[in-house]
Amino acid sequence: MRDSALKWGLLAPAILISIAMLFYPIGRSFWYSLHDWNLTISPQLGPFIGLDNYVRLLTDDPQFWHSVWVSCVFSFFSVFTTIVVSMLMALLLQGSRQLEINVRSILVLAFAMSPALVGISWRFLLAPEFGAADAVIGWIFPRWADVPILADTSTAMVALVLVDVWHWAPYFMLTFIGALASLPQETIEAGQIDGAGRFRIFFGIVLPQLKGVLAIAILLKTIFSIKMLEQVITMTSGGPGSETSTVPHKVYETAFKFYDFGYAAAMAYFLAAAMLVLAMIYSRMLFGGQK
């Protein structure tokens, strides 16, 4: 009895904080999602409407489904490109020469920046009137010299994806460098002796041994990509039109532009459900499955 009192006593602060900071807001927002509550009409919680918000979301909102599609496109390309680019960077910079170490530290700066700052910086860099990056791109590809990159349908999404890659690749590069370093060197040398060339060694011996790390990296990046919001707000505001309006951005707009809190909460829950599935797979991979 005493033991169990002590146990709960020690756990109590953590549980209380979790309830106050995590479960209460989550439960509260779920409660909102069951109401028709528009702040422009009233600061008081509106009438209870059951699952009407969810029904509207699933059956009668093409704009929302458009944002789901945008999120999927963004996530697919940003995950794929980030993983490939960071793996290439890791292979290039895995050594321990001074140059490699220095380059690595510089690259990690990109990851250390806050996402909002990344977005704003790139917005300036890509601004048609005075952006340095915009000028360089125009100089290398004259075709795009006159294209306002962040405001053009054909380039806004590309820019968003590439900036996200720029932001995240160093982080995954470090992950992969760590994984490469922990690979038994003998297996690679055995591959050389057995007659395999560089590509064969990478794809046949190195990559299969990195399978676990790679799977976790892909899953993590998918989670990060799906919930990415700051760069959309700071770089494109979802535009041109709603070409780059991802689900989190849609939630943000609905809540803080149109003040439709009940409906925004329902959307957020839809997103949360998807994230929950991914998070569960992630923790399963990390903590379980090590047979």
Binding site: A190, Q192, D194
Partner: protein, 352 residues
Amino acid sequence: MASVELDGIGKKFGDVVGVATQSMTIHDGEFMVFLGPSGCGKTTTMRMIAGLLEPSEGRVLVDGEDVTYDAPKDRDIAMVFQNYGLYPHMSVGENIGYPLKVRGLSKADRKAQIQDVAERVELTQLLDRRPSALSGGQRQRVALARAIVRRPKVFLMDEPLSNLDAQLRVSMRAEIKHLQQEMGITTVYVTHDQIEALTLADRIVIMQKGVIQQLGTPEEIYNTPANLFVANFIGSPSMNLINGSLENGIFTAPGGVHVPLKDSSQKNRANVVLGIRPEDMSVCDAVGAMISGVLYNSEMTGDAVFATIDVGEARVCARGDRHLRFQKAQKVGFDLDLDYVHLFDGKSGARL
């Protein structure tokens, strides 16, 4: 099948000399063992033969052809690594067949050859397992099978048995020797275990601090060590070494050591080391013996008794009949078999 020639090869790591400039030829079909204490450059030399390490100087020739700057894959050399270097994501069968797969053999051909080698090393039951589900000895055999499956020109093994227990080591040793003789593949084998070296080798290279001390057959190494290092390194218990002087064909040392040498033509020297193995001495009466002293210790090993006596500053050990028994602080004498007395220069350590 091939010969391997190292021509003035050397390796420096920055300022550290890994292997000093040296040359040697490993004959076709020969079993060559690199033996020496830790850090003497055995692995470094082997890796230069394999092509995993580029020499700082000199050339590597396989069958007379210069391969110094060829990639490992172009040398047709197989290697067994100390920690086996098995591919953890492949089954035993796939591991063994990998060199064949890389060479573009069809699945059916591969299967037949895998089956063939697996039988040789008794792995047929385990072909579908992952390496992680094998014992150390089994992993060792997989590594061996992967190396022989393509019948390479040269076979390299870096301390392949060091991770195994004593009993398994003996049986794997026999297995390796048998395989090598049967297939007649030129083999270079690295070890720091002298028993392994003496039992396996056609010829042994003894190295120390990156320098070859002696290259010869096990008999030569054991019976005519080229210098003090080799004399001391080979043999267990090791050779007795007594500092003394040589005059008129007679070796004398403090403590009344008095050895009339067989070869009386040796010129007089003030600083000489006499070497004699414990088994080349016989225990006798202290009076009139070539070496005599007070018993320090005696050990029964079952088939023999080793008696150690104090002679001057030296401590000398002799192998005696297993029925011998001694008393504490007894005076004991040793007679030397003069056919097996070794003399070394006291300063340079070179054999006289």
